[in-house]
């Protein structure tokens, strides 16, 4: 069941990223591999640079020899990656932070494996590591594409941090004040507020549902990565402690040599799962909010 959810989430992420990459690159049907490469590269351009992408496509059409077509398309790919958006805003900062967070996340996992090498021998560790690497790389790539397509970096960053903050608060409260159910219920209600607010606010500012969905997706990337860094960081700093009742119960049958290794492995797995869960839930709620907000914008005002 867990594997099925993982595959579904990974598949959704891949589809969203590929769809965003293809959307603006598909105005003319690519005829060969260099043309397909260029069409893909053009999709990486910021929205306000799209005409330059079409200029490159128009020139490639004139290049006849295959090696020259490859060289031209490869050069254009480099150019599309280097061209900054005309109105960059906080976008480059968000890209920098997301890439730094993704790198830090990978470094934390690597440190965990070095510090507790027995984790590698655990059941399903390699599959989890490969999935984690794919998700982190996919999230970083998605962030780059979204920012270059004009996602509002500042709003998405604030929304992502806010969402991660509520998740962390909820998790802390759930562990510390488990018997106090009403408080937890209120916090649970607060979980969707940040993504809903981001989707609606970005739609209002960008005036389209697409603008709102871009902000919602970017805030989901930020929220997931921040949440992962916090959980994985705490797991490694405290050697997985304090151990909960479930971990103490399951440890003897886990096959791990010591409690710390088992707890760190378990907590890193939880952090990886939450990276996916928080990103997906935040993205879903934010996109839904943006779509509804756009629908209300389009709805005609009642006449007296």
């Amino acid at each position: 069941m867990g594997s099925l959810v993982l595959v579904l989430i990974l598949g959704s992420l891949t589809v969203v990223t590929l769809a965003r990459l293809r959307r603006r690159g598909a105005r003319t049907r690519p005829v060969d591999a260099p043309a397909r490469l260029l069409a893909w590269a053009v999709g990486l351009l910021p929205a306000d640079r799209a005409d330059w992408g079409q200029a490159m496509v128009g020139e490639l059409e004139q290049v006849r020899q295959r090696p020259k077509r490859w060289r031209f398309a490869a050069g254009c790919l480099a150019a599309t990656l280097l061209l900054p958006a005309r109105r960059a805003g906080a976008g480059p900062l968000v890209i920098g932070l997301v890439v730094a967070a993704a790198t830090a996340g990978a470094a934390l996992v690597a440190y965990g494996l070095l510090r507790y090498p027995a984790i590698i021998a655990g059941r399903g560790t390699w599959a989890a590591l490969i999935a984690f690497a794919a998700v982190v790389a996919g999230l970083a790539l998605l962030a780059v594409v979204l920012v270059r397509q004009g996602a509002p970096g500042g709003l998405a960053l604030l929304g992502g941090l806010g969402t991660a903050g509520v998740w962390l608060l909820f998790g802390y409260a759930a562990v510390t004040y488990a018997p106090t159910r009403p408080a937890l219920s209120w916090l649970l209600l607060a979980l969707p507020l940040a993504p809903l607010a981001v989707g609606a606010a970005a739609t209002r500012r960008g005036r389209t549902g697409a603008a709102g969905r871009r902000a919602a997706l970017l805030s989901a990337v930020v929220a997931g990565l921040v949440l992962f860094l916090a959980l994985a960081g705490v797991a490694l700093l405290t050697a997985g402690g304090p151990y909960d009742a479930g971990q103490l119960r399951d440890f003897p049958g886990s096959g791990f040599p010591d409690m710390a290794t088992y707890a760190v492995s378990d907590n890193l797995g939880t952090a990886m799962s939450l990276l996916l869960l928080a990103s997906t839930v935040t993205a879903t709620l934010g996109c839904a909010s943006a779509t509804v907000a756009a629908w209300f914008r389009r709805a005609p005002a009642p006449t007296a």
């Binding site: 003319t28 330059w52 490159m56 128009g58 020139e59 059409e61 050069g75 150019a79």
Partner: protein, 104 residues
């Protein structure tokens, strides 16, 4: 504060090539071949020049089913910049040493 850096040799080459026939619209691929710049270097240069108002662009409709082509030429500000670059190049050239009659 806006930086006022001197343009790179590649930018200067592109501007000089465009200034050679100021009224003529140029294709990107031909321009790159003329100044020996790959597309990865040429397009960022063209984009920067256009952002600074030194380059203007227009579209040439392609035949049915083919994409349009982008054409470029320098604006008046771009031509002024080329003239200024030429003036600066002359000013920075080291003076030719005068020979004395006795040495001749």
């Amino acid at each position: 504060m806006k930086r006022n850096r001197s343009p790179s040799p590649q930018v200067v080459r592109v501007m000089h090539a465009l200034a050679a026939e100021p009224s003529r619209w140029r294709y990107g691929y031909d321009l790159g071949a003329e100044v020996d710049l790959k597309s990865g270097s040429l397009y960022p240069i063209l984009v920067r020049l256009a952002d600074r108002g030194l380059l203007e662009a227009t579209w040439e409709p392609g035949p049915p089913g083919k994409p349009a082509r982008h054409l470029y030429r320098l604006t008046a500000a771009g031509l002024d910049q080329v003239a200024q670059l030429a003036t600066e190049a002359v000013a920075q050239r080291p003076p030719v040493p005068h020979r004395r009659w006795k040495e001749a």
